[in-house]
């Protein structure tokens, strides 16, 4: 397997009233092509800043992000960022949203391609609906489809499902895994949900509190479909939670 993303000694501070506030302190790791890496960490630790630097939206103070051997300085459609807030354009229909990213690409049959991805995520029949006519889960599906239709090498997902209820969030995870079986993408997922990370990721990075650095790395060697109730999965969960400073688990 070849290396897809290389994060080299990233550092970032934000200006505050009391001088510079270090947020990300010396983070380095690499991600293999097609790998699914989850990042967990305490809230406010700088996870999103790290993700924004990887996607090219925020420039690091020091260090670099290298993708396919090329340094990344600004966002482009090879790596699509999905956040919990959602960014499906409310003034475009589902189909128009899906076709948005295809604008300017020399692809014939953009409509067909958009409709095919709408079908993949289960939005067949809603191509002409506006986002305000969709439920929260359907909106997430539309966002996912809009990202996938441009065939990005990398999906950056920043707590993508955390605005959904627990059941819908679980459904979306399964949906994501089902799609990733068909088309291989490299995925970076930020989550605060350790179980979600164990459910979907190949590797889990645990970040320290701010200023953040990588505190621990866990491989998730279980084959899909995974049983989260299994003894090994629970053991891994306890180990990760311990890293996050949760010792008493109430069970």
């Amino acid at each position: 397997m070849r290396t897809k993303i290389e994060v080299r000694a990233l550092k970032k501070s934000y200006a505050s009233d009391k001088g510079p506030l270090p947020v990300v302190e010396d983070v380095s790791f690499s991600v293999q092509d097609g790998e699914f890496v989850a990042i967990v960490g305490p809230s406010g630790c700088g996870k999103s800043t790290l993700m924004n630097m990887m996607a090219g939206f925020v420039q690091p103070d020091a260090g670099s992000v290298v993708i396919d051997g090329q340094p990344r300085s600004k966002p482009d459609s090879r790596g699509i960022l999905i956040t919990q807030y959602g960014s499906v354009f409310p003034w475009l229909t589902v189909r128009e949203n899906l076709m948005f990213g295809l604008n300017g690409h020399p692809i014939a049959n953009k409509t067909e391609l958009a409709d095919r991805y709408a079908e993949i995520v289960g939005l067949k029949g809603f191509e002409h609906s506006y986002p305000h006519e969709l439920s929260g889960g359907m909106l997430k599906r539309a966002e996912l489809a809009r990202a996938l239709v441009v065939k990005p090498d990398i999906l950056y997902m920043d707590e993508p499902f955390s605005a959904l209820d627990a059941l819908m969030s679980l459904r979306m995870r399964n949906e994501l895994l089902r799609i990733l079986e068909k088309e291989r993408h490299t995925v970076m997922l930020i989550t605060h949900d350790v179980e979600e990370a164990i459910h979907v990721a190949d590797r889990i990075l645990v970040l320290s509190p701010r200023p953040t650095r990588i505190q621990a790395t866990f491989e998730v060697p279980f084959p899909h479909p995974r049983r989260l109730a299994s003894a090994q999965a629970q053991e891994l969960r306890v180990a990760i939670l311990r890293e996050l400073g949760v010792d008493r688990l109430g069970d």
Partner: protein
């Protein structure tokens, strides 16, 4: 039936006002102030000889021309000021000084520049409705949510796509709000402008009715007609808010 119920209180208050007006005029035995019946017969008189339609047509033509000119200037200017920081910093202070000046204050200058023809009121309408529309459009661009601009940036689309599929659709609801405000001001101003010197229009009709024989029945008829047309114009602008392109803004 439901709608009737909803409108009943408003109708009742209007009927009460007309009744009070009528009683007051009869009680005071006023010779100049007309009764509601007098206003109604006066209106019919104007309808019959066709002058009312001529005045309404003249006023609407002036409002239409001045307002459309203002839209053509305000929307591109507002988009530009909203998008380009330098344009905003340069032009906004000037607009903020010009904006609070009442259109009435412009009347002498309008007459000086454009004479007493149609151009003067059209200019006044333009000047009064252009500023609210520029401001609303600029605010519209400034308040586009960042997550949408980021998404557009992420997909690496061209400037053309960014403008036609993100910026303009996002701002359109604000533009419609600006147009509604602008048309309201325009209608307010045309009547005032026509009172100065012109041979047609509802404003002229009001002043002329008073000057030519104290026809206060026609003065009041003119006022009521102005009110009703203003209501209709606002209703038309409100219908624009239901158009497919802006409806998303009012969902939820």
């Amino acid at each position: 039936m439901e709608r009737l119920k909803e409108h009943f209180p408003a109708m009742a208050v209007m009927a009460a006002l007309v009744a009070v007006w009528w009683l007051a005029v009869t009680a005071t035995k006023s010779v100049i102030f007309p009764t509601p019946w007098g206003v109604l017969t006066g209106t019919f008189e104007l309808l019959k000889d066709g002058t009312l339609w001529r005045h309404i047509g003249a006023s609407l033509m002036r409002v239409g021309t001045g307002f459309l000119l203002a839209v053509c200037v305000a929307v591109p200017l507002g988009l530009w000021m909203g998008w380009v920081r330098g344009a905003y910093n340069t032009l906004n202070p000037i607009f903020q000084i010009l904006r609070p000046i009442s259109p009435i204050a412009w009347i002498p200058i309008a007459i000086l520049w454009f004479g007493v023809g149609n151009a003067s009121p059209i200019y006044l309408i333009f000047i009064s409705s252009v500023f609210p529309m520029v401001v609303q459009t600029t605010v519209g661009v400034h308040t586009i949510e960042k997550r949408y601009l980021r998404a557009a940036e992420n997909f690496g689309v061209s400037r053309h796509t960014l403008f036609t599929q993100v910026v303009i659709p996002a701002v359109l609801p604000q533009i419609v709000v600006g147009m509604r405000i602008g048309l309201g001001v325009a209608w307010l101003v045309v009547v005032a402008a026509e009172m100065i010197a012109l041979r047609s229009g509802l404003g002229y009709m009001i002043m002329d009715s008073r000057n030519a024989g104290n026809r206060y029945d026609l003065v009041i008829a003119g006022m009521i007609i102005i009110g009703i047309i203003g209501l209709v114009l606002d209703g038309i602008m409100r219908m624009l808010e239901k158009v497919r392109w802006v409806r998303w803004r009012y969902a939820h």
